[in-house]
Symmetry: C2
Subunit: 459 residues, 2 copies
Amino acid sequence: MELDEARWLALEPEPGETLRVALARTLRDAIRDGALREGVRLPSSRALAEGLGVSRGVVSDAYGQLEAQGFLVTRARSAPQVASVPRREEARRQADVAAPAPRYDLTPTTPDVTLFPRGRWAAAAQHVVRRSSFAKLDYGDPLGEPALRTALADHLGRTRGVVAEPEQIVVVQGTAQGVDLVLRVLRRRGAHRVAVEDPSHTTQHERIRAYGLELVAQPVDERGMVVAGLEADAVLVTPAHQFPTGSVLSGERRRELLAWSHETGGLIVEDDYDAEFRYDRAPVRALQGVAPRQVVQLGTVSKTLAPALRLGWVVATPDLVDELRQAKRLVDDFSPALDQLTLAELLARGDYDRHVRRARSAYRARRDRLLDELARHLPETRVDGVAAGLHVLLRLPDGTSDVETADAALRARIAVPPLSAFRVRPSGEAGLVLGYGRLHEASVGAAVRALGRAIRPLF
Amino acid sequence: MELDEARWLALEPEPGETLRVALARTLRDAIRDGALREGVRLPSSRALAEGLGVSRGVVSDAYGQLEAQGFLVTRARSAPQVASVPRREEARRQADVAAPAPRYDLTPTTPDVTLFPRGRWAAAAQHVVRRSSFAKLDYGDPLGEPALRTALADHLGRTRGVVAEPEQIVVVQGTAQGVDLVLRVLRRRGAHRVAVEDPSHTTQHERIRAYGLELVAQPVDERGMVVAGLEADAVLVTPAHQFPTGSVLSGERRRELLAWSHETGGLIVEDDYDAEFRYDRAPVRALQGVAPRQVVQLGTVSKTLAPALRLGWVVATPDLVDELRQAKRLVDDFSPALDQLTLAELLARGDYDRHVRRARSAYRARRDRLLDELARHLPETRVDGVAAGLHVLLRLPDGTSDVETADAALRARIAVPPLSAFRVRPSGEAGLVLGYGRLHEASVGAAVRALGRAIRPLF
């Protein structure tokens, strides 16, 4: 602890107190309160005496008293350190008694972070930190860095057929913040009902309800979300790869959905989930590209690079840009600029595209392997959905409870959620949503065998 | 454009269309819509032909037609590039007709970003990107990275007398998000009225009103915010250095405020503004350290390092931790992990403390210089507030309008806001809030002379 840091330590003797008693009390209180934490090294007695304007003897005496009382530990020729002492205010919360870590973590929605291109990210980040103009370190545009928005407009146009000017893109902290901002704006506009696919990400259900909006559940079948009967101010949909069923919104359903929006004025919020990871054929074009005035597109690099980066975007409809910009400004001003510029640099260098191709081929191989092993060790099950993404939906035999099945897996230390966990309304369908982002290819066989042993007794 | 990226380009001939006509139409639409943007290089005719499963002649013909129509530009032996063409949907918004950049930007609340320790930040960031465990790239804790929360608990204890366990710190995107999250939680708890200091940051007023909360304005005098008459569910206060008046909350007012909280159950939200930059004496201890169950402390590195990093923290009262964690999870899951770990590394290396000391001494010199020049060139004005922070409040002679004065300065291309701009309720007091974060020491003299020339005629 530099003396400089201890400037808040005011020496204010109480009536009748000597300076040394007052100083000992002040330090003891700071240690007991936890402001001076275990291991903190205090200033030398000479430095503190100077800083407080008292004689060195006053500090030495106070230190000696605190050492005798067990608050400080002193070694020869070095400044005293704060000892481990019971706190007056025991605020530390007990760490939850941790469940044993799963042997196999098959929870979905997580990519394989070991594929993250550390070297390329680090090189681009270095370039940005050392070379950016000083202005980039100052307060920035709530919409995001122009360089990234331009790079994204180009990239999304080329790869997803998105039609966007840089001026209508809002850089956000992942799809999470994208959804939150859109909901905030919808709420402000007087929206009451927001529809989701049933099943879908439950955190999105929570986000909708947190704004006091009514959650409308639309069923999903093998052609994606059912549009018939949709009554809502907006709908959150995953046309490229429905989570978690794995279906793709069919051409007919796409047309129905656009017609619904056209007729009712309802907003389509397209979570362009897993569009980068389609393995069997070309992914369908983003809905946004077909109807840029009716569709807000959300995207993220959480799956293609890493969730820890918290980088995503909202391609806004022209009439929503200003309100989204305002909402972003109020919730956190703007997203971290250096990270945005690093992603722009990665896009400009072609490193991002190269990485996505490499990751796609790794996941495709892993998925093929997984399907082989499932056919061998869990022949009673069926894999649904198109060849895409980072998970499969494993349908269980009729009459099986997926909750009980997932519990049985967990007892064997295999973490895999039941389809029921993603439901708004209960349904008879039983499935496991099996992610392979955390499952290395070499472990696929062993994991599926272990899963088979754990759950086949329930069929 | 890699062929791979163009996978969304579906070739769907309409009745009677040949393949080459259909392809030319598809590409032309994508260019007109803006999905394929100016400068994008298309795949070679051979590659695209292979990808679409058509003969190479079909692609060559379509490319030739589009070139003749001005949609593509082709140079010998290279793939065609999209030309500059008028868009079907001219969504580009005209850039605002920019006002000429000010010669002197004296707006407050911005630090001198040229002091940012690029080399040290870059070194710490490299270490983090290359050495962190893979788990750090995955989804993280909504509260923030444990390494940063521990480093902050130590740092805030040592330097500000804050009493906090790492488990009660929430890492956020600057004070902006800290305030937003606290307001979100208060609203959810049924709060109706939130008080601010008058004058204060107007963006905070907007944040409060955006949640439908009533804004209560408490006057500020030379002893800080007036506590008498305070009726609110929470109060946002800047005890270390009131913005923008520059006063410090007096010992008596601190006791009154804590008593108010104790009696009414009202929450004190302490924006620990400018506490790092006190020049004349020791800064007062953070209020949080005196009453950790009544005070939420907000802090940020926006002033000490750079706003672009978007790194701040909320030290929560024990009863608010879980709700703040939940709110953070819903708004954006968690803050970018690599940035958090880089800051933790900077704190652990002592680089952060060294930088703050260096910056403090630079700002102190600049402030001294500024006061000298103001006394010389604007003798009719008076500087209020303690020696701290990155701005001074310049009181204008009685009867002067600060709005007109600021307008006169702006006509001379000097940007400096009037005190009135920070008011909730109008007041007769006239002042300019003069920031020196963007003003280099060498320019102080010239800037103050220019300001004097521009505004003295109004006195």
